[in-house]
């Protein structure tokens, strides 16, 4: 894959020399971050539609926060500080399974249960992080909360790409069945959908996506990018087709603009934040359209 990234970087440099692209595109880190954006945008935009349709926004938020605990555990276990992926993945997946299990077994209302898990995972994560990083740079915490797309390495991109292919493949294969399980489990089961299994696969998928994106957009912001573009698309669409397409488009536009605009206009804000601000602006515009249409 590195070979492919090199080709992309070289062609970008050529285009810069030809005057077709702005100057900043000659830097490898800029191209890397744009590659990330082009992977993360479609992935989060597409899967976000299912998250919104299944009303799991809050759920995925809790998983996002669990990443913090995963990172802290990784650091304590001696994994590399910048990529404690093994602990991160294992913890997020276990957390997702446990959360779903408690939800199914207790019959408690989702928002109450998730509210508890969400606060708990954040508190434990923050506490462990303070403990684990007391003799390491505290900026790690900052980086994982808000991401650092500009420092994405080849291996980060590889991981992201692998998860994106898995997620989009699974998303296309299981879209109807996942949505049906949420809409009416009895009806889904009649159609041969193993509802419970799909439920678990979906939360595991969200955990994978979240973890793979954490380093790029941050544990807090990945959830925003999962939800906001889909919510914006939902505001103005009247079919599943335009819902999915617009969500992907919005997420991708947000990711790319969030990187390019601050750089080109020399605005000193982190790319993660800029991405979410773009998504929010799009959301507000769709909200306006919706309000105008209703009156």
């Amino acid at each position: 894959m590195d070979f492919l990234y090199d080709i992309i970087r070289h062609s970008a440099q050529n285009l810069v020399q030809a005057g077709a692209l702005p100057d900043s595109f000659k830097f490898a880190f800029v191209i890397n971050s744009l590659l990330c954006a082009l992977i993360i945008g479609p992935m989060l935009g597409a899967i976000g539609t299912a998250v919104v349709a299944k009303r799991m926004a809050f759920f995925s938020n809790a998983i996002g926060h669990s990443a913090l605990t995963g990172i802290a555990i990784g650091i304590m276990l001696g994994e590399p500080v910048n990529s404690p992926y093994i602990s991160l993945f294992s913890f997020a997946i276990l957390f997702a399974i446990f959360l779903n299990f408690s939800k199914n077994k207790s019959g408690m209302s989702h928002d109450t249960l998730i509210g508890v898990f969400l606060s708990a995972s954040l508190a434990i994560g923050a506490a462990l992080m303070m403990f684990a990083t007391k003799d390491i740079n505290i900026h790690i915490l900052d980086g994982y909360m808000f991401g650092s797309i500009l420092t994405a390495s080849n291996s980060d991109i590889n991981l992201l790409l692998a998860v994106a292919i898995l997620a989009i493949g699974a998303g296309i294969y299981g879209f109807n069945r996942t949505i049906m399980s949420g809409l009416n489990p009895a009806l889904a089961q009649v159609r041969g959908v193993p509802v419970l299994i799909y439920d678990y696969i979906f939360v595991i998928l969200i955990a994978l996506i979240t973890v793979a994106s954490v380093k790029i957009v941050g544990s807090i912001l990945v959830e925003a990018l999962l939800i906001i573009p889909a919510a914006a698309a939902r505001n103005i669409t009247r079919s599943l087709k335009s819902f999915v397409i617009l969500s992907v488009v919005f997420a991708t536009i947000s990711a790319v603009t969030g990187i390019v605009v601050p750089m080109e206009f020399k605005i000193p804000i982190p790319s993660g934040g800029a991405i979410i601000i773009c998504a929010t602006i799009i959301f507000i515009l769709t909200l306006l359209v919706k309000i105008v249409r209703r009156n």
């Binding site: 109807n176 009895a186 009806l187 159609r191 079919s239 599943l240 397409i245």
Partner: protein
């Protein structure tokens, strides 16, 4: 005669916690028959239907004896809650139900004709682009019914599918269901309109926790039995 299924239920019992909802149900339905299930609210009809669909933990035995190979099961649920804000239109909803191809890519080619015809018969074709949340109660029931017909079911389980459907709609429903029956399908139809049941049912069973009576409508739907349905509800 086309495929259908003979269903036999023996000593079916089911509880939710300490609440025994079904007790020693014995029930039989035959291919090519419309078997109506009646009974008071809370009598356990919906729960019984879910047991037939294999979606409950229960005691007792349910056997399916397909005339040919295992056929397609259609189900019309009693209620469906769907998020009002979700951009799912009528065609999307049907696609979600009937096919594997992601619904956002449109209705699968192999079902397109049948979807069109079914919506047309149910007078819903001009509303196929309406959001599910923009439909009236009766229109939603039409759509719920439509999905159960695609592809042609050999066992159709209907849970009060026409509560808010108007008279002309009810006639269309009845005609379609009758057509399936003529083809040999098994129809289990939870119904609360006793007058209608007398007209359409080949067999009728009254379920109130257990089977209160069962048989041909002519012989079992007499005054004495019908009185039992409602007096037993009061006795609970």
């Amino acid at each position: 005669m086309a495929n259908g299924v003979n269903i036999k239920v023996e000593n079916l019992s089911l509880s939710f916690g300490k609440n025994e909802v079904l007790q020693n149900i014995n029930f039989e339905a035959k291919a090519g028959e419309i078997h109506c299930v009646i009974g008071p609210n809370g009598g356990g009809k919906t729960t019984f239907a879910k047991s037939l669909l294999g979606q409950t933990y229960h005691n007792g035995k349910i056997t399916f004896e397909w005339i040919e190979k295992r056929g397609i099961v259609g189900y019309v649920p009693q209620i469906i809650n769907i998020d009002k804000t979700l951009p799912v239109n009528v065609l999307d909803f049907i696609a979600l139900c009937i096919q594997k191809r992601p619904a956002f890519l449109g209705v699968d080619k192999k079902f397109k004709k049948q979807v069109d015809e079914t919506l047309d018969k149910l007078e819903m074709k001009n509303k196929s682009k309406y959001l599910f949340s923009e439909l009236s109660g009766g229109e939603r029931q039409r759509v719920l019914f439509a999905q159960a017909l695609i592809p042609n079911p050999q066992l159709l389980i209907l849970d009060e599918p026409m509560n808010s459907v108007d008279k002309s709609g009810a006639e269309v429903f009845s005609r379609i269901i009758d057509g399936l029956k003529q083809n040999g399908a098994t129809v289990i139809w939870i119904h609360h309109d006793l007058e209608q049941v007398q007209k359409i049912a080949d067999k009728v069973s009254c379920i109130n926790k257990t089977v209160v009576f069962s048989g041909e409508p002519k012989s079992v739907m007499n005054e004495k039995n019908l009185l039992k349905i409602f007096s037993s509800r009061q006795g609970e």
